[in-house]
Symmetry: C2
């Protein structure tokens, strides 16, 4: 009977409301402002609703925003501020650009070339994505922008290996490849100092404690755990969340044939390729030139429209997924950031730090990193967590006698590798989450698997980090 | 040969670039800041490109934004600020809500009821829209929100009179009814003090000059010209931009039959109707309760998603048009507002005022109103123009001996009736502009017709306004 009740969406919704009310009416702990506690309640209840499949993430976000505003714990201005955030518009524009890569035929061609070379198994294609991403890392200093480059290629790979959410074949190869991409981005970001926007901030904070975290040092320290993770993650996902298509010996031949049929590069493909390369190049130097990454992507989109690589009609027809993703992510991001601004996060961090007294440094070290990772369930931005908690956790670690370089590097790596945890855990996930290949439940489940694997791998490499980082 | 060249999009684009360069390199007039002149150049060139069909409004907006940012005349932050504007998100959410009205079948039913009663000619349906809009005026104190109520009903009317942009039948009735809606909103907004957000601001400014502009006074003064316009506009559009379907004597019978087939209200329709009525009621009191109109619309959308009146899948499938409209309008709005902030608009206003010396008051009066209306080609918000220029023009008018009540009321009416001028002239137009029924050229042409007609009608009523307003 309980199982039948569980199958009823409204029963699950009632349960979520019940839990929400319980948290709401719990006495406010730790001397928090009541607004902080109420906003936390709304936020965590919305995430619970998504986890229990009581609401889609879109509906949950909308309701959470409306509730928070009507309850007076968030201003309307704050609630809407996410829609004009630079990286939010980067996601939106990159999402639209990806449609051009697919529509022009260029995505198909790149996919076929990759399949011809590596396509005899889906696992191989997974490694192919990881390698591409890692090589792009130093050239594209933003994991969100890099996800914008990867996404259209991965999407084409999925479609051209016969996997399409519209006809129910998303499990064939697509769910797996999309999830590998999310996993891959966590590691490529940890590998290079310049592969994620928050890394240099971590390096700056580390420097205040005398830890050397320049480009080469970072690469050296990060290389072993990151390479291990790059090898392990596609295989772990392959075992624990296998694609329906595994060995596909016929695929390279079919790709070979399809490439022949496609003939030489069309004009559209050439223009698309030039635009894409131009965008990547501009993204690489955007920081130096103080140009917004989103402006670069909008420029690319405008060029594609000018040359009719995508049409307004197709944007109007196919832009709905980009819109849906843009809205829920902007809302989730703002709620997490408001929670942070109300002091919830730092209070939580200090409470945890208070529990560390009397532990040996290895105990404190493992616990601190573990908690730092787990808290990311509440954060909708890697940078926000870094800014809110990196300093607190580093300080607590140092006080507990954890070697400072170890602590600084491990917190910095964690800030990257916990990014697969939830769909909203990183802006780099959002396009893959919006692809239609992955359900919310799959993303939470596999996100947890990836995060545990990463945590274990990086922890095992503690001696290496101690040795190289010291 | 020139005609053939004209048919070539790239030739027209080259012409636009040429004109843009000419304006850019014109010596900066009136002691303006160079940035103001450059931003003006980019903005006006983008509008020219749309007018000449060299670019879609979406592409033109994107390019203008990117150029303005790269040229350093607008910050990235400013460029993106439109995306989090309250009324911008009201348009976006109302656009999505409208899909639910149509999908639930409620829109169809309302349309059939209207067609059964008034549908023997398309002109009649036009009057039907005007009457509905005028009656909703005092209840919905925002023309943007009111456009969100009208739009789904008008869309259903178009579809159910056999007019659909997807199969090329948009001219049958749709283009006409969409344009009538845009025209209607200009007049319903001028009719009631509370039907448009900027009207009370005008009343406040008028009060500083001792002009009484309370609810009843406003209604009295506005009634004659507004009623004349309500009668004239649908007929003028019917003559100058006729629908393909005119007399449709069979339509009411067909609607009668269709209603019979639909049977009683379905649950979905009932929930949709309750949600819709609830939204309208909340919009009516939103100002009193200090709730954002957009939050109300997002709440309505969330309720519709909760009860599965629209699904996430259908949002992802059909949300592209809302996204396209949201992006270009946010950009256009921000560019116009940046132009205003750089002092371009007020300098222009003062230059014009300087030319008024030596004119009799009736001459000055007609000229001032005419110029106030024409300048709206540069504005992407009625409120922004009111804030920037109402005061300047009122002061100049008073100095030129124009009776102050006449001047104040006429400027206030003009702020409403010039709203049909361009697709971006009012946020109330934007959903209709994004409906797919109207080309940019049609909107500019018919927008000019509506504005001229309104100008003439309100001007003819000058004696009435003098008598009642004094």
């Amino acid at each position: 009977m309980i199982r039948n009740l569980w199958k009823n969406t409204w029963a699950r919704r009632a349960l979520v409301v019940l839990v929400g009310l319980l948290i709401w009416f719990t006495p406010v702990p730790w001397g928090l402002q009541p607004e902080a506690w109420q906003l936390f309640t709304i936020f965590i209840t919305a995430i619970l609703a998504v986890l229990l499949d009581a609401l889609s993430i879109f509906t949950a976000s909308l309701l959470a925003m409306v509730l928070a505003v009507l309850a007076g714990v968030m201003t309307t201005e704050k609630a809407f501020s996410g829609f004009s955030e630079d990286f939010m518009l980067l996601i939106l524009s990159a999402f639209l650009v990806s449609k051009g890569v697919v529509e022009s035929g260029l995505g198909k061609r790149i996919a076929f070339v990759l399949i011809r070379r590596f396509g005899y198994s889906t696992l191989n294609l997974g490694y192919c994505i990881v390698a591409t991403d890692a090589l792009l890392g130093p050239a594209i200093p933003s994991n969100t922008a890099r996800s914008g480059v990867l996404y259209p290629i991965v999407l084409a790979l999925c479609l051209d290996t016969g996997s399409n959410p519209d006809d129910g074949t998303h499990q064939r190869s697509g769910s797996y490849l999309m999830m590998v991409s999310i996993a891959s981005l966590t590691v490529s970001s940890a590998l290079w100092l310049t592969a994620m926007a928050a890394n240099p901030i971590a390096a700056g904070m580390g420097a205040q404690y005398g830890v050397q975290m320049d480009f080469m040092h970072w690469l050296l320290v990060s290389s072993l755990p990151s390479l291990l993770a790059m090898v392990a993650l596609p295989y772990i996902l392959y075992r624990l969340s296998p694609p329906e298509a595994t060995a596909t010996p016929e695929a390279p031949l079919a790709a070979q044939k399809a490439l022949k049929e496609m003939g030489p590069l069309s004009n559209k493909e050439k223009i698309m390729a030039a635009t894409f390369v131009g965008m990547v190049a501009l993204w690489g130097v955007a920081g130096l030139l103080h140009i917004s990454m989103a402006i670069v992507a909008f420029l690319g989109l405008a060029v594609m429209l000018l040359f009719n690589i995508i049409s307004i009609a197709s944007l109007r027809r196919d832009g709905g997924d980009a819109l849906e993703t843009f809205i829920w992510f902007a809302i989730m991001y703002v709620m997490s950031s408001a929670l942070n601004e109300l002091g919830f996060m730092s209070t939580l961090g200090k409470q945890i730090a208070g529990q560390m007294q009397g532990l040996s440094w290895p105990q404190a070290y493992v616990l601190l990193i573990l908690i730092y990772v787990l808290i990311h369930y509440l954060f909708v931005s890697q940078t926000a967590q870094l800014l809110a908690l990196f300093g607190v956790f580093l300080e607590v670690g140092v006080n507990a006698q954890v070697p400072v370089a170890l602590m600084a590097y491990m917190l910095a790596f964690a800030t990257n590798y916990f990014a697969a945890m939830t769909p909203q855990a990183s802006s780099a996930n959002v396009m893959f989450a919006g692809s239609g290949y992955l359900t919310q439940q799959e993303m939470y489940r596999n996100g947890a698997i990836i995060t545990v694997a990463n945590f274990v791998i990086y922890m095992i490499c503690t001696p290496w980090v101690l040795w190289m980082g010291g």
